[in-house]
């Protein structure tokens, strides 16, 4: 009974939800529509004669034009010939960052979740403190560092900073998951004479898989989202640029080719959206099963 709503309440909930979602999706809707319109229509206001106000019909005219087509989707490959490369780079970079981060995160998170040892709280706090900086603060020394090691203008230039800034969050997230795994299972293994490493591999890891997936996806999303800054600062080589930096190129020309830019953006985020669609059930279930307590 507690969960039943009155009709009015239902309307309230659904309409609020609709508004909320409209807010979240508005830019994408507009981006899609913009990508369908020819440039001339994009750069035109609804025609309002002197002294009159815009009517609803005038407003709707900006959405529809008889010249709408998917032309921009074809043109964009020509305007920015490296577009497929950029999309590939974005996915590649995010995957690489996720992979490397996980290599560092998993052992560390396990240590924090299971053991009590000297320096535990201090080091944990220090890791968290890293969250306090955005990469923007450390750009210059990072630049010099990468330069000294000759890593500028390579994929590494974007992978390494990305990994470094994701590790703290990853450790924190995974730690919460691992803490949920009952210790008794490990104890049972010890009693049977297993070494720590064996326990980690054969007992814990399989159980931790849901958590690993959640953290992995979260890392992937994080990596995908923060590529821009590192890419434009540490990498000047077109071949290695990820998508957002590539999209930036559309702005550089005399006329900003908005329709193609929007088309390229939408196409570019498709891989991530697809991945998310596949994983979303697990992701949300993992996060909402009360596993994350903070």
């Amino acid at each position: 009974m507690m969960d039943k709503y009155t009709f009015l309440q239902k309307i309230g909930i659904y309409s609020s939800l609709a508004l909320f979602i409209l807010f979240m999706l508005l830019p994408f809707v507009e981006m899609f529509i913009a990508s369908l319109r020819p440039l001339t229509h994009l750069f035109s206001r609804p025609d309002v004669p002197v002294g009159e106000t815009m009517t609803f019909m005038d407003f709707m005219s900006r959405f529809y034009s008889d010249k709408m087509s998917f032309q921009a989707y074809r043109d964009m490959w020509v305007t920015v010939p490296q577009l497929p490369r950029y999309i590939f780079n974005s996915v590649f970079l995010s995957t690489a960052v996720t992979f490397f981060s996980m290599c560092f995160i998993v052992p560390a998170a396990y240590a924090y979740a299971r053991f009590d040892f000297r320096g535990k709280t201090t080091s944990l706090t220090l890791f968290l403190a890293v969250n306090m900086f955005s990469g923007a603060v450390l750009l210059i020394p990072l630049y010099k560092l990468l330069r000294v090691y000759g890593l500028l203008n390579t994929y590494w230039a974007m992978i390494i900073p990305g990994v470094a800034f994701l590790i703290p969050t990853g450790i924190w997230l995974l730690k919460s998951f691992l803490e949920k795994i009952p210790y008794e299972l490990e104890e049972a293994a010890f009693v049977d004479g297993a070494s720590r490493l064996y326990t980690l591999r054969r007992v814990i890891l399989p159980l931790a898989v849901p958590g690993l997936i959640v953290v992995g996806v979260a890392m992937f999303i994080g990596a995908y989202a923060q590529q821009f800054l590192f890419a434009i600062t540490f990498n000047q080589d077109r071949d290695y640029m990820p998508l957002p930096a590539g999209i930036f190129e559309f702005i550089g020309y005399q006329d900003v080719l908005w329709n193609e830019m929007m088309a390229a953006s939408l196409v570019g985020i498709l891989p991530v959206l697809l991945i998310f669609l596949f994983m979303q059930k697990h992701l949300i279930a993992g996060l909402t099963s009360g596993a994350v307590k903070e």
């Binding site: 979602i21 206001r45 407003f59 535990k120 450390l138 590790i167 953006s265 996060l287 009360g290 994350v292």
Partner: protein, 313 residues
């Protein structure tokens, strides 16, 4: 030699544990040290030099506190700091409120819950830069959707360029920042809400409590730890939020959207004044550090007074 090995061998169980734990953490710690700690030190060191384009690779001179004097004493510094804090408080506040609303809505017992939850996620998944381009287009004065819409509805009688005026540019940036940050906050709040034991609600329901009462007296206190930690995390990220403002306004008409981090970037990267830029970076870290300390102290005091349980730092 064997003496050395004898010395290093862990004597007690806890020593084994410590060693093993540190062995696991070492790789991560090393990466952090290399990428974060050293650059931090270097930023600190650079802030005392006049490093610029010609001296990037060496040859910069130490100029003591000069950079700091110029930065803090600059005409615009107080307003930049105030603006940054205003930006942070406003944006985080809105994110928390919207996050709570969204989470409550999504936690309610409606059909197609999963679909709605997925629909709320895109701003988080999509690269920040791309979302910003979308908003850039929306905010366009002559051709943008929002401007056209408010003109049709009658609020304005002509095009309105949101990003051309100091006030509107600032609030537009806030809206975009909130847009980007809300999904994640919503998700975490949703997780927290679902972790609240159901019997608490049932007991209240049986006693005749209204939904609003149940929300206020059960849900909120129960998820307070999450709210508190999300707020701090979000505050730090918002303070450092760079891309959004940069793409929309590059610091805004006449500095109207210039926050501390934008100023840092402009000085360091845009104008190639690495020394002065490093100074501002150090100031950002200091200010944030002080803020966090104050926040956590206040939290601690509140804890002691009201006895919230399970607040993790």
């Amino acid at each position: 030699m064997s003496n050395l090995i004898q010395m290093l061998k862990p004597k007690t169980k806890s020593q084994t544990t410590t060693l093993f734990a540190w062995a696991l953490i070492a790789p991560a710690a090393l990466v952090m040290f290399w990428i974060v700690v050293w650059p931090l030190y270097e930023t600190f060191r650079l802030s005392f030099t006049n490093s610029n384009l010609g001296t990037l690779m060496g040859g910069a001179e130490y100029i003591g506190w000069e950079n700091y004097e110029k930065a803090i004493g600059g005409r615009k510094f107080p307003s930049i700091v105030t603006r940054t804090f205003y930006w942070m408080f406003l944006s985080v506040g809105l994110k928390i409120v919207l996050g709570l609303i969204g989470a409550s809505l999504l936690a309610s017992n409606i059909r197609a819950r999963g679909v709605f939850r997925a629909l709320v996620m895109p701003p988080w998944i999509v690269p920040i830069a791309i979302g910003c381009f979308g908003w850039l287009w929306l905010y366009n004065g002559h051709f943008g959707l929002i401007s056209n819409f408010i003109e049709m509805v009658g609020i304005t009688d002509g095009p309105f360029s949101f990003l051309a005026y100091k006030q509107s540019a600032f609030y537009s940036a806030v809206v975009t920042d909130v847009w980007i940050g809300t999904p994640m906050v919503t998700l975490f709040f949703l997780a927290a809400i679902q972790g609240v034991p159901r019997d608490l609600y049932e007991a209240a329901y049986v006693d005749g409590a209204s939904r609003w009462y149940r929300f206020r007296r059960i849900t909120l206190p129960q998820i307070m730890p999450t709210i508190v930690s999300m707020a701090l995390l979000s505050a730090i990220w918002t303070f450092n939020s760079f891309e959004i403002i940069w793409i929309l306004t590059e610091g805004g008409p006449r500095g109207g959207t210039t926050t501390l981090i934008i100023d840092t970037f402009k000085t360091a990267i845009f104008s190639y004044k690495f020394g002065a830029g490093a100074t501002r970076a150090v100031l950002v870290v200091l200010i944030l550090g002080v803020f966090s300390l104050i926040y956590l102290t206040v939290l601690d005091k509140l804890n002691k007074r009201y006895g919230y349980s399970g607040v993790q730092k």
